[in-house]
């Protein structure tokens, strides 16, 4: 495989960095981001200073404030962070067709392989992007250049909150060796438990285990772990917009609620919206995910793979309700409900039955009829009783 140059830009504590760019008075002061007005709010994010005082994500706000009484508490502004992410991305897009927005906010990967003649050596490009971001957006991303995404990500983790790191090709394993194994991306807390049980704390110590030894403990995960601690990662930088298509709809309750009927009614509305979008595309969804945001900032989510991919509201709702019940474990009121449908596919042609109509036909026909009425007379022309009852 050709040698790659992956640039990783990482804005530490992205929400705090964005808030500080908006209000410079916050610079240098500890900042905690947590929802306002909730008695049992939990920390959404915090600045490095607050982190040093012992504040962690997901910690109850009261405890966080005991540990860091001087902290300024701000409510989360998700829209603001999303917009900042879009602006951040704009600084990277001109340089490569392969720019990936990573899962975490404030993280970008840029594949700078083969663009040297146009834009100069990758470290210089990384430094220039960072310089522009700093000048125009007011925050200072950490940058790294490495032969793959895994090593690039690990490199920015060790220089947090500001700095840079260049790892050359062939240096991946030497670079990871002295690092604590929890800093290696892709190693999960369950893996760590095993490692600690065996007193393995450094990546280099794990790298001394053979595939056979690892497979005794980790089974099918052993190949992944074997590669990760050696800095082997062939995953490509996915071009933006990347990833598989997904339909996401959400609803924020005016008054946070834990009334089951209300929540289920909203879920049904979300399912209807999703179903409508799917049918307009002529596609079916293979997987559903439900996300719950509680009043106190806590979050929960569950997903399910559909037995038969579908775009039928009734079938979608049965699955959505099932996973809502699994995700909804707390008695705290719900602030926001989100439904995501993905693994979109065109429906496979079905062999029709010769005699009579199946349940499936009847449901599909009903949905088609509802769609026809709504398309002609508007969405509110026909409502399902479940929605009205709440």
């Amino acid at each position: 495989m050709r040698e790659r140059f992956i640039i990783h830009l990482n804005v530490a504590d992205f929400p705090v960095a964005v808030e500080r760019a908006v209000d410079v008075r916050l610079r240098g002061n500890p900042v905690i981001i947590a929802p306002e007005g909730a008695l049992r709010a939990v920390v959404y994010d915090m600045s490095e200073e607050a982190y040093q005082s012992g504040v962690r994500k997901g910690m109850p706000l009261r405890r966080a404030l005991r540990r860091c009484p001087k902290a300024v508490v701000l409510p989360p502004h998700p829209a603001r962070y999303e917009q900042a992410m879009v602006d951040f991305l704009k600084h990277a897009l001109p340089y490569s067709p392969l720019v990936e927005v990573a899962d975490c906010q404030g993280h970008l990967f840029i594949d700078a392989t083969g663009i040297g003649r146009l834009f100069g050596p990758p470290p210089d490009l990384a430094w220039r992007i960072r310089k522009n971001v700093r000048a125009q957006m007011g925050f200072d991303p950490i940058w790294s250049v490495a032969p793959n995404k895994l090593v690039a990500k690990a490199a920015t983790r060790i220089v947090k909150p500001v700095g840079e790191y260049i790892v050359g090709s062939g240096e991946e394993e030497d670079f990871l060796k002295p690092l604590p194994v929890h800093l290696v991306p892709g190693i999960e807390s369950d893996d760590l438990k095993f490692f600690y049980d065996f007193n393995l704390t450094l990546a280099g110590e794990v790298a001394r285990l053979s595939m056979d030894q690892l497979s005794v403990l980790f089974g099918s995960r052993s190949q992944h772990l074997h590669d990760a601690v050696r800095g082997i990662d062939t995953s490509p930088v996915l071009p933006f917009p990347h990833g598989k298509p997904v339909i996401t709809v959400d609803y924020s309750f005016g008054d946070d609620t834990n009334d089951v009927r209300k929540v289920e009614a909203v879920l049904f509305t979300l399912v209807e919206q999703t179903g409508m979008k799917l049918r307009r595309k002529g596609m079916t969804a293979g997987r559903l995910r439900v996300f719950i945001d509680y009043s106190d900032g806590g979050q929960a989510s569950r997903q399910t793979v559909m037995d038969v991919p579908t775009s039928n509201d009734f079938n979608l709702f049965a699955s959505a309700k099932f996973i809502l019940n699994k995700a909804w474990k707390r008695r705290i009121r719900i602030r926001c409900l989100r439904l995501a449908a993905d693994r979109l596919a065109y429906p496979a042609p079905l062999q029709q039955t010769l005699f009579g109509k199946t349940e499936r036909n009847r449901k599909d026909n009903l949905i088609s009829a509802i769609d026809a009425v709504r398309n002609r007379f508007g969405r509110s022309a026909l409502q399902v009783g479940r929605v009205l009852a709440a």
């Binding site: 040297g116 834009f119 100069g120 050359g168 090709s169």
Partner: protein, 269 residues
């Protein structure tokens, strides 16, 4: 005084040098330095400007080349371009530690303090520079100014007093740039950098245009006759780098420079 010249390029890790035929196809960046060291006796480390050098990485790099091979290392940007007023002294100490493997092996020819064009001769900048030189005392320092305001006998006198080399530069003929001079402020070392004379691309903000230039034999011979020969009489060692790296013009020019120096009876390692 018999001056020995070491000629090389500013940086050696350029993938486009493969397309230009300097490195064989498929050379990974980790294998470039040993190949480079088969041809040249010195290189200028660029990456130390972007990133604080770390002793273990520098040591690994040092082991890739013969013991007689020399390095000049750029000083990190946090000491020259993006100076943090409250902790630059710690950065200077970290830098010294980072390049220590080269000091111990005797392969550190120079530390290049490259200053930005915005670093003009103001009292604040003079103070920082004096502090920086004092903080890095003991290292073989060379200073490259990029603003004309530093052309002053007093500045050169102060550098001579501290045995700091003034870097001779060749670049495009633009009004504010520091001119090509043959001033010697340290008889132990002369240091010359050829940036290319691409006046149009200089301020483009793109390296691919800024350093796109090929020196002709006449231009190089002119430099040797007018400046290098007189300077060679007053110094022990000279290092010469080509920074016009686009399309591997730098290594090609460096090779020609070695040939021309030898033709003039000078010693080139």
């Amino acid at each position: 005084m018999d001056c020995i010249f070491f000629v090389g390029t500013s940086g050696y890790s350029y993938t486009e040098w493969m397309e230009a035929g300097f490195y064989p196809d498929g050379t990974t960046s980790g294998r470039m330095l040993p190949l480079y060291a088969q041809i040249f006796s010195v290189t200028e480390l660029n990456y130390t400007w972007y990133q604080m050098p770390r002793a273990e990485a520098v040591e690994r790099q040092r082991r890739l080349v013969p013991p007689s091979f020399l390095f000049a290392a750029k000083l990190t940007r946090t000491l020259t371009h993006e100076i943090a007023p409250d902790h630059w002294k710690e950065e200077a100490a970290r830098y010294r530690e980072g390049v220590s493997p080269l000091i111990q092996s005797g392969q550190l020819a120079a530390v290049l303090i490259q200053l930005p064009p915005s670093f003009t001769r103001t009292s604040e900048h003079r103070k920082h520079l004096a502090g920086l030189i004092a903080e890095l005392h003991g290292l073989p320092l060379a200073i490259e100014f990029r603003h004309r305001s530093w052309v002053s006998e007093r500045v050169f006198g102060e550098l001579a007093k501290r045995q700091v080399t003034l870097v001779g530069v060749d670049g495009p003929d633009l009004p504010e740039l520091f001119p090509a001079l043959d001033v010697i402020t340290n008889s132990d070392l002369i240091y010359i950098r050829f940036h290319g004379r691409n006046a149009k691309g200089w301020r483009s903000g793109k390296m691919s245009q800024q350093f796109d230039y090929t020196y002709s034999d006449e231009e190089l011979a002119g430099w040797i006759e007018q400046r290098i020969i007189p300077m060679a009489k007053k110094a022990k060692k000279g290092i010469v780098f080509f920074n016009n790296h686009v399309r591997a013009q730098a290594p090609e020019n460096a090779r020609r420079m070695i040939r021309l120096l030898k033709e003039q009876g000078l010693t080139a390692a």
